[in-house]
Amino acid sequence: MIIGGGSTGLMISYYLLKKGVKSVIAERKYPGSGNTYKCATGIRASFTSREHIALMKRAIELWSELKDELGVFYERSGYLWLLSREEDLRAFKTYVSFQNEHGVPTKVIDLSEVKRLAPTIVTKDLLAAVHDPLAGKASPFDLVLQSWRFLVEKGCKVLMGVEAKKILMSGGKVLGVETSAGFIESRAVVLAAAYDTVKMLKSLNISVPIEPVPKHAFITEAYRDLFKPLIIDWSTSSYVVQTHHGNFLVGSEIPEKPGDKPLSRLEFLRKASKVWTKYFPWMKEAYLLRYWTGYYDTTPDHHPIIGPLDGLEGLYVAAGFSGHGFMMSPSVGEVMADWITEGRPKILEALNLSMSRFREGRLVKEAAVFG
């Protein structure tokens, strides 16, 4: 049984099915309604930890498969990291060599190359950029709807509007889950419920170091394709990506306290517009369609918590993705399916991402986080 019908829960169900295991997903609202449909749609392996890189390199292989298997929109259209400060350029040069060592083909590019990848960009404040040609973007709507349909066709259950209330344990073993639609018996329960994972485990006296940090994004009306890569302005922690329908999706970091209720803030609109109209002056004439808020469910080391829980047989967690849940969902699905069916993931780096790392003080480092 999987609690949470976002991209993570659906992908766990999908890769379990590939191993011949049928699952039930309990989703409090409707599939995708949590963080998945609110995400920035980007997919990259250009991280600065071995764990992230390993998970994402595998995820990128799987995204290509999902494109064929389920007809999900996915393209390797790249990431472009805009750098305007000397210290950032220095730091990114070390990230790039680390990434190259681990098989991620990023490289520092000059401004003429930036202009080629992002036509019309004003580069006067820029020093250079980092290009990640392996990165790309996908449609969260496709992933949710196609995998959901596939799972149901193959006999898995996706329960909508069913809220998990309490995990029942006996003698250190999972019995099942008490839900708003009654008790569901299961020997293996996966918590893939974003911040609700924390609330669920609290009732078992387990504290999980995940804090929800409010995040903001807006999307414009659709325009003809202009640039392919997801573009990051590193100095302001902002991004813009043109979706495959042609809309420009924009995010930008503004000060927020973890746990605060996300509010609609003009401060966000002002900052995000200022950043991106500086690079793309024509954006002043783009019509804004929607603005929404969501969360990065952030852990102290910005890495997810994936794997079993020590001493609780049959209970697994996949949460705390710190803003990277959608892009990682295929490999996380595979890793979790490995854990459940084989007791050990094939991606060895994933062993470092279990809950116990916080207790044991084995935090993993990640620097390339934005938005």
């Binding site: 009306e221 325009y223 803030r265 609109l269 109209t277 002056p281 603005y291």
Partner: protein, 505 residues
């Protein structure tokens, strides 16, 4: 070149502005100041205003009031401009769009200096139709420091295109025509010293810093209002209907046709088929005849006429047939509607084979219902409820029209589809309720509100013909105690609505 302008009309004398010219895809087009771009183009026979992104199907205009996206065009280089609300300007360059338009242009655009303004008011009224105007006039009389913002170039909402005399009571303009009421109320509010009016102004959302309003004309401004109370009177929008080729140019909202012929004096077609026999469908049929447009038929899927008998009698005695138990199944034509096919439907709403009838018309008007324009209420975080009798999602509110966000009120069609008389009354009730919250109320004022509520609920809404709306409105109302309990609970759970106008204090 065809001329669709109405030069003489039995009711309206069109006051056209100065003659101007603009450039439409290399062709010089004559227009009059104060006219929308689309009206000027329609007048010379243009019917296609965009092409669909994937299949490049021609798309006509539908709503004519900036609520849909079928007329998005490039105006002076700016893509996705709604030319149904953008006024024609001398020398402007207009181009239609084939699928999504290009961005990324460089050049002398973007120098529009938008002034940023912060405005502290006690009361902000969003929408200047019947409800908003009445709320504003009430606020004006009470001396409340308020502001009225409206998307249109002219106040009055949809009153400005209503040429028939209104029913109801003389206290609420019964016997006067809609456009005359709009003119009178606009004049009164324009004179108000304490309620400034912002036209061409879109309230784009509730934010923790205030309510954002963008003013396009005459001087571009981005205003952040910090009101202590807000009344939302955003009205409604027209529904579409599913049938073959329902996107063919010439298929139009009934209200869209009213805007063209009654506001701008442009004939929407030569011969029409009207779908829906509610008051809107019947009234628009009569107005078409007045504008010199033939009406082939009114079709109604139900088995009795939806609107008031007197409206039906007006068109039936002029020879317009009403087909009950029928609906449109197909529109046909290459570039615009040339034919429409209707079919009989049984009690289970299934089409009956062999009952198709064909009409040679160039216009299909959809009068199949309205839905409340609830978007800003939903964005603000109001608790919403689906009430089919009211046309869709509406905010839950008290009898005094306060929503689940303290200090945020709703009135008129945005509170659930009804009609103009009740919108006037609700606007006044909402304004008195806001006045009470703001500390302007006295015993006389509260007695006035009780009197209005008594008239509304115990007289006006008792009429059997408005039963549906009455039932709907009851479904959307909770008691004050229940609402206060909701507020208490929300605050206790930390789920208060911090987007509430209260935080602007």
């Amino acid at each position: 070149m065809s001329d669709r302008r109405i030069w003489s009309h039995p009711i309206i004398s069109f006051k056209r502005g100065k003659r101007i010219f603009f450039n439409f895809e290399g062709r010089l087009v004559e227009a009059y100041e104060g006219e929308s771009i689309i009206a000027a183009l329609y007048a010379i026979g243009v019917a296609t205003f965009s092409w669909s992104p994937r299949f490049k199907r021609p798309r006509g205009a539908f709503c004519m009031i900036g609520k849909c996206s079928s007329c998005l065009s490039t105006v002076n280089g700016v893509p996705n401009t709604r030319i149904c609300v953008e006024l024609a300007k001398e020398g402007a360059f207009i181009e239609r769009q084939r699928g999504p338009p290009s961005m990324g242009f460089e050049g002398p655009l973007f120098n529009n200096q938008v002034e940023k303004v912060e405005a502290a008011v006690d009361l902000l009224i969003i929408g200047g139709g019947p409800a908003g105007l009445h709320a504003a006039l009430t606020a004006s009389v009470l001396g409340i420091k308020a502001a009225l913002v409206d998307e249109g170039a002219r106040l009055g909402g949809q009153l400005i295109k209503q040429t028939h005399k209104f029913f109801g009571t003389r206290d609420y303009y019964g016997g006067a025509r809609g456009f005359e009421i709009a003119e009178k109320l606009s004049e009164n509010i324009e004179e108000s010293p304490n309620v400034p009016v912002y036209r061409n102004a879109t309230a784009y959302g509730f934010f923790s810093e205030g309510v954002g309003v963008i003013v396009r004309y005459p001087k571009p401004m981005n205003i952040v209002f910090k009101p202590r109370a807000v009344i939302v009177c955003t009205g409604a929008m027209e529904r579409g209907l599913e049938f073959e080729n329902n996107d063919l140019p010439g298929v139009m909202g009934a209200g869209g046709a009213q805007t063209l012929m009654n506001r701008y004096g442009v004939r929407p077609g030569d011969k029409a088929l009207v779908v829906g026999s509610g008051n809107v469908g019947l009234i628009v049929s009569y107005q078409l005849l007045q504008a010199g447009v033939k009406v082939g038929a009114v079709v109604e899927i139900a088995h009795s006429i939806g609107g008031w008998f007197v409206h039906a009698a007006k068109v039936v005695r002029l020879g317009v047939p009403i087909y009950l138990g029928h609906s449109i199944v197909r529109a046909m034509g290459s570039e615009r509607v040339e034919e429409a096919v209707i079919q009989a439907f049984d009690g289970e709403m299934n089409p009956i084979p062999g009952t198709e009838k064909q009409f040679n018309v160039d216009l299909v008007l959809l009068a199949v219902g309205l839905m409340p324009d609830y978007t800003i209420l939903s964005q603000a975080g109001c608790v919403m409820k689906w009430v089919s009798e009211l046309g869709g999602l509406v905010p839950v509110r008290t009898m005094y029209l306060e929503t689940s966000i303290p200090g945020l009120y709703v009135a008129g069609d945005a509170a659930g589809i009804e009609e103009a008389t009740t919108a006037f009354i609700e606007g006044e009730i909402a304004a008195i309720s806001a006045a009470e919250k703001l500390g302007y109320a006295n015993a006389d004022l509260l007695r006035r509100r009780e009197k209005l509520l008594d008239f509304l609920w115990n007289e006006y809404r008792q009429a059997p013909v408005v039963e549906r709306a009455r039932v709907g409105k009851l479904k959307a109302i909770v008691s004050e105690e229940e609402m206060e309990e909701h507020w208490r609970r929300s605050i206790a759970n930390g789920l208060g609505s911090p987007r509430s106008p209260h935080i602007f204090q």
